[in-house]
């Protein structure tokens, strides 16, 4: 049982959780505050990891400029997706973003192998980042994290905090008010002289860039990127976290990400312990235990959306999603 708890803490605050958390913060700006259905958030993280990774590993560009290049790519992707779709009905953005995410995943996984290394993915780009690690050398684990992991998650959580402060400041400003207005009724906002299209575009770009930064953290944590990480499920899991923690709340995605990974890890430990029991193993082996865990993810998303669309801590009156 102790292992299950420490495992839960480890995963709840680990770099994967941070990466997903930033993806969910981006989705929160787009979906939670502005009502934009970006189902291709994975593409922005893929760009973060792949473009930065390839720039460093293949082209020998230093870490910081490589990150800036990746952010430029993310901005470009947001513009390419937004220009044609943001004037159309809400679901077009959803379909086009899904399609774009799949295209990018396939391209990263199979093409430009000299940069993206096909199925193997990009590696060998994390040295610069790890070289900045000021932590004293230690063997083994501190707080269950290795030295490099700890460095990544310290940086990661600082980034999360800074971005949360930014989101908080923006969302209480008139700018954020316009976004929330657009979520409620874009025609009303338009009739008041606001350039709705421009605001949507800003939200899409900002959310995409935050997702891209999440891609950096994930890539540094694992010291590699693989295209298949960034499949459709990635975005859906980030969406689940957002709804779990509460959409249109600054800390919603953060709470959601920590809780999601902690509970998932905890469940994983419990279920795999169970599956080690020979009686249980007849019904559920280790692989099946992992399936049961993910089935629960789906079930939780459904139940949340049906019964608590405001998230587990949210206030029903303030729910951003009109779900009833």
């Amino acid at each position: 049982m102790i292992d299950a708890f420490t495992g839960a803490l480890h995963d709840g605050f680990g770099y994967v959780a941070i990466s997903y958390c930033l993806a969910a913060i981006g989705l929160n700006i787009q979906f939670g505050y502005s009502g934009l259905l970006n189902f291709g958030q994975a593409a922005f993280l893929a760009i973060g990891g792949y473009i930065m990774g390839a720039a460093i590993a293949t082209s020998g560009i230093p870490t910081i400029p490589a990150m800036l290049i990746a952010i430029l790519f993310a901005v470009a992707l947001a513009l390419i997706l937004g220009v044609p779709t943001l004037r159309l009905r809400a679901d077009y953005l959803a379909i086009v973003t899904i399609a774009a995410a799949e295209i990018l995943r396939l391209v990263f996984g199979t093409s430009f192998r000299e940069y993206f290394r096909g199925k193997d993915g990009v590696t060998g780009f994390a040295d610069g980042f790890r070289g900045l690690n000021p932590l004293p050398e230690y063997d083994g684990f501190f707080l269950t994290y290795s030295r490099n992991e700890l460095w990544t998650i310290i940086v990661g959580w600082i980034v999360v905090i800074l971005i949360c402060v930014l989101v908080w400041a923006l969302m209480r400003s008139p700018w954020g008010r316009v976004l929330r207005g657009i979520r409620e009724d874009e025609d009303a906002v338009r009739s008041l002289g606001k350039n709705v299209y421009g605001y949507k575009m800003q939200a899409l770009v900002l959310g995409g860039v935050i997702g891209c930064i999440g891609g950096f953290i994930g890539a540094f944590g694992a010291a590699s990127v693989q295209a298949d990480t960034f499949n459709l499920d990635f975005t859906f899991i980030a969406l689940t976290m957002l709804i779990l923690g509460g959409a249109a709340r600054v800390l919603g995605p953060v709470v959601g990400a920590i809780l999601f990974w902690a509970v998932l890890s905890f469940l994983g430990s419990i279920l795999s312990d169970l599956s080690a029991n020979p009686t249980v193993a007849q019904f559920m082996n280790a692989d099946q235990a992992s399936n049961v865990r993910l089935m629960l993810v789906g079930l939780v998303l459904m139940l949340l959306m049906i019964y608590r669309p405001q998230g587990i801590f949210g206030d029903r009156k303030e729910i951003a999603l009109d779900a009833r």
Binding site: L37, P84, T85, L88, R89, A90, D91, Y92, A94, I95, V96, I98, A99, A100, E102, I103, L106, V107, G109, T110, S111, L232, D233, F236, L239, T240, I243, D287, Q288, N291, V292, L294, M295, V297, G298, L299, V300, L301, M302, L303, M305, I306, Y307, P309, L321, D322, A323, R324
Partner: protein
């Protein structure tokens, strides 16, 4: 019209939503699949098959050659090729690791040699219950066909794929048309059809035709359960369309992992018609009787559905509901009954599509998830909510996916379909056959 503004008519809040029934749905599916799970363990061998032919001798079969298979846990199995050059080595399914298949070159008859540079040991990947291992014998005399020689074959393949795809697209489009729901779990209805066909065929040993028929009937029931257990109660609560879309994402997750729970990561194959012999059509392309049957059955089904929509009472009611649910309700059409019917038929069509896809792509837990985006692409290209659009879009996507391999690597062929989708949405957002929407 914003997606959330369009809601199905609300009724009294009779039942708490969904979830009890959903659990019922899950447990019933569990029960059905559990049966298959246990039976499958008893049934399960993996078979390594291959045919040895000598290209030096007009592809004559090479009998009497020993083939050894070593499993990852060190088990040794062996077999000898028969008069048709075919060998079959059965290994226990319990070992899912990589197999090492080696050809004993000493047993090759005189004058028959392994092709220069060709390996005598293969490690076939894939987790199919039937694993194919092909050794090349004799000199390499394959004719290198030019790209454009493949065009007829690709068109035929694309047409076949498109027609099967349209079975899935039709259901998605009909559900969208009548309820406004973008159902991300529609792919799981496709997988359901394939898994049920597999179960009937492999577990209960029914003939493949019967299995497909049974799968379609079960799919129809599954569609009914989907609607009665989940979507109808949500409509009664007045759940918004975006919320319902997210619920469907959750359902997709749930079902896909449920399938994987039982099938594992393996790619399962039906017992019959897995690799039928190809026949030559005018020297242009190869076809198989199986695929011709698939095309005919699909076409007949599609024609039947369109005729039914055109000429039956229920069909006309369905189109009326697609047009304007509120108006349809006010003219005395029972909207909820129409929607339930659409779910039943939509799921049956998707199940049939899944059963057919199971032949060519083998049955995996993610069969439906893989084609879901193509189905979306097909319905959007053709025009969401339009019956003809769904069919036309599917054929276009099918043809496009196959023929695009002339120009782009085949790993990217699905990406090509996605690009086509984006281009169509850019220039004709309502799709090829969709109606432009009136604003205000």
């Amino acid at each position: 019209m914003s997606p959330s503004s369009r809601r199905a008519p609300q009724g009294a809040r009779r039942r708490g939503p969904a979830v009890t029934l959903l659990l019922l749905l899950a447990t019933s599916l569990f029960a059905v699949l559990a049966l298959s799970g246990t039976a499958q363990a008893a049934d399960g061998d993996r078979t390594v098959v291959g045919t040895l032919r000598n290209s030096a001798d007009d592809n004559a079969p090479v009998p009497g050659v020993t083939v050894d298979v070593e499993t990852s846990d060190g088990g040794q199995y062996t077999a000898e090729s028969n008069e048709e050059g075919r060998f079959e080595v059965a290994v226990p399914a319990s070992d899912t690791g990589t197999l090492t298949v080696s050809l004993d070159t000493d047993t090759l008859p005189d004058g028959v040699d392994l092709r220069e540079g060709a390996p005598d040991t293969l490690r076939p990947t894939g987790s199919l219950s039937t694993v194919t291992a092909n050794f090349a014998l004799g000199p390499d005399d394959r004719q290198v066909s030019t790209k454009w020689d493949q065009v007829p074959q690709l068109l035929y393949n694309g047409l076949l794929f498109g027609i099967v795809l349209s079975l899935g697209a039709l259901g998605l489009s009909m559900v969208f048309g009548t309820t406004g729901l973008t159902n991300f779990a529609h792919g799981e209805l496709v997988t359901f059809g394939a898994v049920m066909t597999y179960m009937g065929n492999r577990v209960f040993g029914l003939p493949i035709m019967v299995s497909v028929l049974l799968a379609v009937v079960l799919s129809a029931g599954f569609g009914w359960l989907n609607d009665k257990g989940l979507w109808a109660p949500l409509r009664r609560r007045g759940t918004g369309l975006i919320a319902m879309m997210i619920v469907s994402i959750g359902l997709q997750f749930l079902l896909r992992n449920l399938y994987q729970y039982f099938t594992g990561g393996r790619a399962l194959t039906y017992r019959e018609y897995v690799t039928p012999a190809g026949q030559d059509a005018f020297g242009l392309f190869t076809y198989t009787t199986r695929d011709v049957v698939i095309i005919l059955v699909s076409l007949l089904t599609l024609i039947a559905v369109t005729l039914a929509l055109q000429f039956t009472r229920l069909g006309r009611a369905t189109r009326a509901v697609s047009d304007n649910p509120a108006l349809a309700a006010s003219t005395g059409i029972n909207v909820n009954r129409v929607i339930t019917t659409v779910w039943i038929f939509g799921a049956a069509l998707a199940g049939l599509g899944g059963a057919f896809l199971g032949f060519s792509q083998s049955v995996t837990y993610q069969l439906g998830a893989q084609v879901l985006l193509l189905i979306f692409a097909a319905t959007c290209v053709g025009g969401l909510g339009s019956i003809w659009g769904a069919m036309l879009g599917s054929i276009i996507i099918g043809l496009f996916v196959e023929t695009s391999t002339l120009l782009i690597p085949s790993e990217l062929k699905y990406a090509g379909a996605m690009i086509l989708l984006i281009i169509v949405l850019l220039f004709r957002p309502q799709g090829l056959l969709g109606r432009a929407q009136r604003i205000g």
